[in-house]
Each structure stands twice: as structure tokens, then as C-alpha cells.
Symmetry: C2
Subunit: 386 residues, 2 copies
């Protein structure tokens, strides 16, 4: 297999983009990535998207986006793994270049979520859970993560304040990210006093409904050395795994088995461990998610995700900065785009282009992107090599 | 890249499977393929599915199906390219084995279309077209293909009877396929007198609404020689391409550019041409589609698709048998499963297991799977090598 580099990234300002259709949002980010890479063509593309059928009545995004990007007749495929759609798409782009099937591959992610009413968005998102055995009982995603939170608090003494501190940290980071949907800071008190969604989770524990896209361009490392004068970022590890789709089927509902497995594979391929990471983006769809993910990735031991955020271990100036971008919490969470946006952030961090939220001397980075309550996860490890 | 073999295939009886959910339908076919391959595990899987979100309110099929197949924590990804979802998924499975990322990969396709009313199914299928520029004007899929048919008749003198003869041929073949949804024969008169859907297309020109799944197991050829005692089938060509999603954007609405391009790539990789093919499965979602596809694949010259079926060239005992399985027309068309079912049929044809519809001494076969009105296409070429 060939060595693979990320040579271009792009991402638009996220938010409620009422004036733009799904094709506009995607093409904007894709063109930014193409310009950043400085390539004059692409050979193949992937589009990560969770549920454009339910959100905007449009499937067949491969054809649509290749068309509107002016890139037909290249092969273009839409990839779905719920909220891990972007990470799964990135893995396929990596595989295609590694295999030698194509040289220059664009991986984009997109979701347009604000063209529907609130009730419909909740239904659309619930299709990431087990429709027959979970949703039919009336449970929603905040409800599922609320159960994980309660259990984590019961088992490990995680506090309501520690959950809030995840939101405080990520909004602090996001306030320095000009592309974030909610680039404002919040306090622990504001989180604790915000409206309750599903006990113990409040609205400021939840990632928002977002329109947005992100894109990355991949090519072989050898080609990248000639194509780009920017610091070179290599994909050194890729892991993907599944777990039971339903939370109730798991032995331990606070343990994200797919994340642990995907990380194990990615660490093995990369030849690094959690202690080698300089900056990490994780899937904080809810504050409790970040706490569970830091444990499953081995950044901290089981049950220590709460104290980790409280002590500042995962802060921007901490030992292991987590979600320097603001995470899903502040940056926004257009579900299909999130996994690719993590790659955008980390590529910029490794290049030293992250502005006020730059993690100093970052050389090795990890992205963890999760679907549902952890039924699927993609983990990628990036390294600056020049 | 490694050489890749198909070592197992499975497909259930297609139809209106009211008593089975999408997970049951998929797992049934997947278990058949695993049993046929004789493997005791799989390393990775892909699920081709067009629009389970709209049909059954369920996305995240990778996690769901890996879970219900008892295969977690293996990576599992859902792939969508409208009605070419199965073909696109097969290509990714091929790529993963060829790249050396995994050894044993299951590629399945599934669609459960009869849990919704007729009106909703028409909307769900229309998401394969350009929602903003085609569907918003009120056009449906039969309407789009009807325009292609009218234009083909105008340009090349294709007759209404020739369209009907596609249905007659495919139902004849399908009457020998025990897994077909509609395994009955039809006459030209019956087609011409069936209810009109969108002029000139009548109901017997259209593929049906179907529940069903299909699956195939891929592994390296070297490993296949040890694993399986069945005749060995190798994937010798894979091509995928896109065209404009909207029919009105094309220079010639009777020319399937993505099919021609995908075929060109697949022929090039395989080192064969249309003249070398012994048996071909094509995407006859409507009778006119088969006529246009036989032209784009180079089986006949442009405009000669009508006379080809009339003369018996594409009949089971003709020079180039097309849709020996009964095609989408008779076998059924659970959209995400169709591309994988073509691989099932061709693998059985190449192994000599196709019963009454066996094409004698078939050694090289081609599958063409198309999304929308041809906005995306996957073409695969298989060869019996032992």
C-alpha cells in the first residue's frame, strides 16, 4: 500500500444556512479544498452524508456533487455511517489512494439540517439508533446519551459540573474558530441553568443542528512532495469498527467498544499510542460523549474522563488538548460533515495554521468520529512529516 | 494490487416480504453467501442501500447489519449511489481486498420498499433524480425514462413493440429463476395492453417495487484456491463513473455517458471488449433502459438496441444473452440490492449453476448497475478461472 497525504482542506462557515442548498454548501467547501491543494483535477470523490433523503429529499449525492463540482465523469460515491459518515468516507478515500486505484481523491462531508422542522430533525437523527427496538419505544438521541451519563455518574462519580466543563472548554476553543456555528463562551453556571433536554443533559450539553460541509484532498505522499509547498501531513493510521447498534445490547453502556477497537487498529497501523498524541478531535455530540471517548481512546483510564476535563488535562494548554476546534458542541454538527471537519482542523493544527487556537508544535494528531451511540466509529491518525 | 475472487454468493426469494424487516432480509442473504463461501468469519463488510431512511426510517445500516449478523466489531459501511448502490458497494469491497486492507469482505445490498404507501415509494425513488430541478417540476422516474424512450424512438426508429420485447425476453428468462418476484411470462400484446404509466411506457415496461437482498463474499484469488472447491470466479474489471444528475443537462438524453465511461475503464482493466462477453446483466429498470445500456456498453452500435432485442441477439440463446436472471423487470428491483444480485447471477452462470437459464460455457461476464437516469454507473467484469 502507498503512503497517503492530506494536501488540501476546506470548510465553510457553519450555521443555519437558509440561503444555500445542500449542493451549494458542499461545493463551497470542496472548492476551498481543491484550491488549498493546488490541484487542477481530481480522480475520484466520496461524499459523507447521513440522511439527506430525510432532510432534503435528495439521495444520489455522488452524481449530484460530481456534477455541480464540474467533475463528471469521475467516480463519486456517497458513504453513510450515521454521524460517522465523514470519517467512514475519509477512510475510503485513504484506501483508494493507498491501493493505487486513484491518485487524487476528494473526500467531502455535508449535511443540510435546517430545511426541516425540529420534530423532523429529531426523527431524522433517530434513524442512527435501532428504529425497531429503541426509537419505537420513544427514545431520542438526547435520551440515549442521558442514560449513558446517568450510568457514568453512578459508576464513576462523574459530576454534573464535569459534564458542564466539557461544554465550557469546547466553547472556549470554538470562540477562536471563525467557522464555528456558536463561537461564544459559556460558563458552568450557564450550562447548569440552561433548559433541560433529557435529565441530566441540558441544552448546552448538546451539539446543535447545523448546515455545513468540509472537504479534504488526498494523494500519495510521493506526489504530494511535488504538488504542495505546505507542511506535509500524512495519514499514518486508519481504523474503523462497529458495536451493537442498540445501547441496551451492550454489556457496559458507558464503554464505547467500537471507539476502543478502531483506535487499537489505528494505533497499531501508525505505530503510536495515546501518549504520543499532541492534539485530538473527538465526537462530542453530547458532553458525556467526550468523557466516554477520552476513556475509550486510552487518553485517560476508565472512569477518569470527568476528572480529566475538570483538571484541565484536555484543555487547549493541557497535556492532551481535545477539541481545539470547539468540537461538535461549539463548531456545530452537520452530521455527515463532522468527521471530515475533524481532518480539516487537525491538518491546520499540524501545519501550524490554527490561529489563536493553535496547539504548539503539534506533530501527531488523532480524529475520532462516531455514529449513533457508538455503533460505528472511525479513527484516523495524522502526522506532520515535513 | 491483489487479484480478487468471488467465493460466495447468496440471495433470497424477492417479492413483497411483509413479514420480514430490513434486517431479516439482509441477514438471510448474507448468511447464504457466508455458507456458500464456506468461511468462518469476515473481516469487513459493505451494505449497498439507496434510501432506507425514507423507506423504513433506518440509517446506520453498517452498524445494524454487522450487529444482526453477529459480526461486530468488524468495520461495516453503508454505500449509496441511488439504484447503483449495490454496484458501488461491490467496487469498494473489491478495492479493499485488492489493496490488502482486508482478506475476506462481505458485500451486501438490501432494500425494503413495501413498508410504505405507493405515493411515498414514488417520492423515495425520486430522490435519485435532481430534487430541485427535476422533481420540483413534478417529474417522476417513469416520466424521465418515458422522455428517453420518446427521444430514442424519434432518433432511431425504435418501436413500441421493441420496447415490449425487452419485457417479454426478461420475463421469459425470469420464469426460470426461482428467486424472481414475477416469474411469469408475458407477451408483446400483454405489454402493449397493460396500463399506461408515462407515455409510451406501460406498467409492464417498468420494474416493480420489491423487498430483497443479495450478498457476495470476496477474497484474494490465492486464498480462494485453498478456501473453495467451487469453480473460481475472478473480478477482472471494475469501472465507475458519473454523469449529470439531471437528464436535461445532457447533450443527448438517449446516451448513457456514465455507463460508456465505466465500461471503458472496466474493459481496459480486464483486457477484454464487448465481443468477449458470454453473458451480461444490465440495469433494465425500464425497458428503454436496457436498449440504451446495450448501446452504451458497445454490445451493439448506437441506435441498434431495439433491433438487437427484436432479432434475438440478446436472448438467452442469442449471441450476447442479456439479463439471463430475468433482469430488474422480472426478478424485481429492491434498489440497493440490484447491483449485488447481478453479481450473484453472473457468479452462478460462470460456475454453471444457473439451472434452466444457464448460458452454455459462459466464461466472461459483465454487470452494469445504474443510478437515477444514468447519473452514476458501476460496471464489473467477472471471469471463470478454474
Amino acid at each position: 500500500m502507498r503512503e497517503v497525504a492530506v494536501i488540501g482542506v476546506g470548510m465553510n462557515k457553519w450555521g443555519e444556512l437558509w440561503e444555500k442548498s445542500i449542493r451549494d454548501v458542499f461545493v463551497e467547501a470542496a472548492l476551498m479544498a481543491i484550491e488549498d491543494a493546488g490541484v487542477d483535477h481530481i480522480d475520484s470523490m466520496y461524499v459523507g452524508c447521513m440522511t439527506s433523503g430525510l432532510f432534503v429529499g435528495q439521495e444520489h449525492l455522488g452524481s449530484l456533487m460530481a456534477d455541480y463540482l464540474g467533475q463528471t465523469p469521475i467516480p463519486a460515491t456517497r458513504v453513510e455511517s450515521a454521524c460517522a459518515s465523514g470519517g467512514a468516507a475519509f477512510r475510503l478515500g485513504f484506501m483508494e489512494v493507498a491501493a493505487g486505484m486513484s491518485d487524487i481523491v476528494l473526500v467531502g462531508g455535508v449535511e443540510k439540517m435546517t430545511d426541516v422542522g425540529g420534530g423532523d430533525a429529531t426523527f431524522a437523527l433517530s434513524t442512527a439508533a435501532d428504529q425497531e427496538y429503541e426509537c419505537y419505544q420513544g427514545v431520542t438521541f438526547p435520551g440515549l446519551y442521558a442514560m449513558m451519563a446517568h450510568r457514568h455518574m453512578h459508576e464513576y462519580g462523574t459530576t454534573r459540573e464535569q459534564l458542564a466543563q466539557v461544554a465550557v472548554k469546547n466553547h472556549h476553543n470554538g470562540s477562536m474558530n471563525p467557522r464555528a456555528q456558536y463561537p461564544f463562551k459559556v460558563t458552568v453556571e450557564q450550562v447548569l441553568n440552561s433548559v433541560k433536554v433529557a435529565d441530566p443533559l441540558r441544552i448546552l450539553d448538546c451539539s446543535p443542528i447545523t448546515d455545513g460541509a468540509a472537504a479534504a484532498i488526498l494523494c500519495p505522499v510521493d506526489m504530494a512532495r511535488n504538488l504542495s509547498k505546505k507542511p506535509l501531513v500524512q495519514v499514518i493510521g486508519s481504523g474503523q469498527a462497529t458495536d451493537t447498534i442498540a445501547l441496551h445490547s451492550r454489556e457496559d453502556m458507558t464503554w464505547l467498544g467500537a471507539t476502543a477497537k478502531a483506535a487499537e487498529i489505528a494505533y497499531g497501523m501508525a505505530g503510536v499510542g495515546p501518549e504520543d498524541l499532541d492534539v485530538v478531535e473527538v465526537h462530542d455530540c453530547f458532553t458525556i460523549a467526550e468523557i466516554c471517548v477520552t476513556e475509550a481512546l486510552g487518553l485517560v483510564s476508565k472512569g477518569q474522563g470527568g476528572p480529566a476535563v475538570e483538571s484541565g488535562l484536555t484543555a487547549l494548554d493541557g497535556k492532551i488538548p481535545v477539541n481545539a476546534s470547539g468540537g461538535l458542541k461549539s463548531k456545530g454538527h452537520p452530521v455527515g460533515a463532522t468527521g471530515v471537519a475533524q481532518i480539516v482542523e487537525l491538518t491546520e493544527q499540524l501545519r501550524g495554521q490554527a490561529g489563536d487556537r493553535q496547539v504548539k508544535d503539534a506533530r501527531i494528531a488523532l480524529a475520532q468520529n462516531m455514529g449513533g451511540t457508538g455503533g460505528s466509529t472511525a479513527v484516523h491518525i495524522l502526522k506532520r512529516i515535513s
